[in-house]
């Protein structure tokens, strides 16, 4: 029987991982809350399988991404993933870096679920071997995919930046 208190403490310490995954994958606060709940439950169910040979954060990333990718809602009108809480509307001043980050974030929101997972792990500075292990693909494949994603993001960020 897994230790509930120990799990809650660990999850509390690493909850920012789940928040990040929810922000990348969900558009609205309600959906993000639902996904947070779902990841927490899935992590709790899978916790007995956590043997401690990997870091808890890496393990939690895997569970969170697995849950986010397989978490399907009923088809709604597709809105690109863009969290207004992360980027509040700042019309008073113009900060080019902020605008670029905002455009890049929008471009990430347009990516597929798998590409989002790759970007997420890349942003967290995981090496290609660990990303490959988490996704179940080879490190070479990770490199190829990331290069493609970077090109795609560059183009789409440009579009979003011009539009804004």
């Amino acid at each position: 029987m897994p230790n509930e208190q120990e799990f809650i403490q660990l999850l509390n310490k690493h909850q920012n991982i789940i928040h990040k995954v929810c922000s990348i994958y969900m558009d609205t606060t309600a959906d993000r809350e639902d996904l947070f709940q779902e990841v927490t439950l899935q992590a709790w169910k899978a916790y007995p399988s956590f043997r401690g040979d990997a870091k808890f954060s890496t393990w939690l990333y895997r569970v969170a991404l697995n849950t986010a990718i397989t978490f399907f809602r009923k088809e709604k009108k597709q809105v690109p993933t863009f969290s207004t809480e992360i980027f509040p509307d700042t019309t008073d001043y113009h900060n080019p870096i902020e605008e670029q980050v905002k455009a890049m974030y929008k471009a990430i929101g347009d990516l597929s679920k798998i590409d989002k997972a790759l970007v997420m792990l890349y942003l967290e500075d995981y090496n290609y071997n660990i990303i490959g292990e988490m996704l179940g693909i080879s490190p070479n494949n990770v490199a190829v995919k990331l290069n493609r994603i970077k090109v795609k993001l560059k183009e789409n960020t440009q579009k979003h930046y011009q539009f804004s």
Partner: protein, 211 residues
């Protein structure tokens, strides 16, 4: 504007968590039910297992205690059919349980969920479709062979509305064809509505990882 140039800013923004959950919130979440498709599938499997057990008990009762030989044979056969289906359902449930207690790499996880749901959809469809001709032919054959002459309902109905044997066969043929077509399209639509889109989206993710 490269991803690498904005990496630190992006991560910093993502790290700004809007609402932090307390240990109490997290503890409360562990008591709730999950909304995942796998969990829904688990629930439908449980419902089907319960229905199957009820059917087995009822069929076995009729199979043992009916006055008519044909009904005894018919319901005893379907007690065995339901028992086999119960084993298939239990096997699927075990696979799903194993899946929800592990954390596999994303690709393996997707492939496993996809194969389980695909198998479930395939078996449900095969089972439903196979039952139509089996039930029909088997019941007609048993009704014809039954030595007792107490089952008059069908005979009475047919002889009142259909005068010749050819008309009776035509009526039964049309009835079987229409029923088969109806059940075929309904089952396809129902399973597609429940799992079709989900299977398609899983397949898209798997294809993307295999590219």
């Amino acid at each position: 504007m490269e991803l690498d140039e904005l990496k630190s800013q992006l991560l910093q923004k993502l790290d700004e968590v809007p609402t932090t959950k307390s240990e109490l919130d997290i503890g409360g979440m562990l008591k709730k039910n999950t909304q995942s498709v796998i969990c829904k599938l688990k629930k439908s499997l449980w419902i089907e297992i319960i229905c199957c057990i009820i059917f087995i008990a009822s069929f076995a009762f009729v199979g043992l205690f009916s006055k008519h030989w044909s009904l005894r044979v018919y319901f005893s056969t379907f007690t065995i059919v339901c028992l086999i289906f119960l084993l298939v359902l239990y096997y699927l449930l075990t696979r799903i349980r194993q899946l929800s207690n592990t954390s596999l790499p994303i690709k393996n996880n997707l492939q496993l969920i996809h194969s389980i749901i695909k198998e479930y959809v395939k078996r449900s469809f095969q089972f439903t479709m196979a039952l139509i001709p089996i039930c029909m032919i088997y019941s007609f054959w048993l009704g014809y062979k039954d030595p007792s002459d107490e089952i008059h309902f069908t005979e009475g109905f047919l002889s009142r509305h259909l005068s010749s044997p050819q008309k009776v066969y035509l009526f039964l043929g049309v009835y079987m064809v229409l029923l088969t077509i109806g059940v075929y399209y309904f089952t396809k639509w129902y399973l597609k509505k429940l799992y079709g889109n989900y299977l398609q989206q899983l397949q898209t993710c798997i294809n993307e990882l295999e590219e």
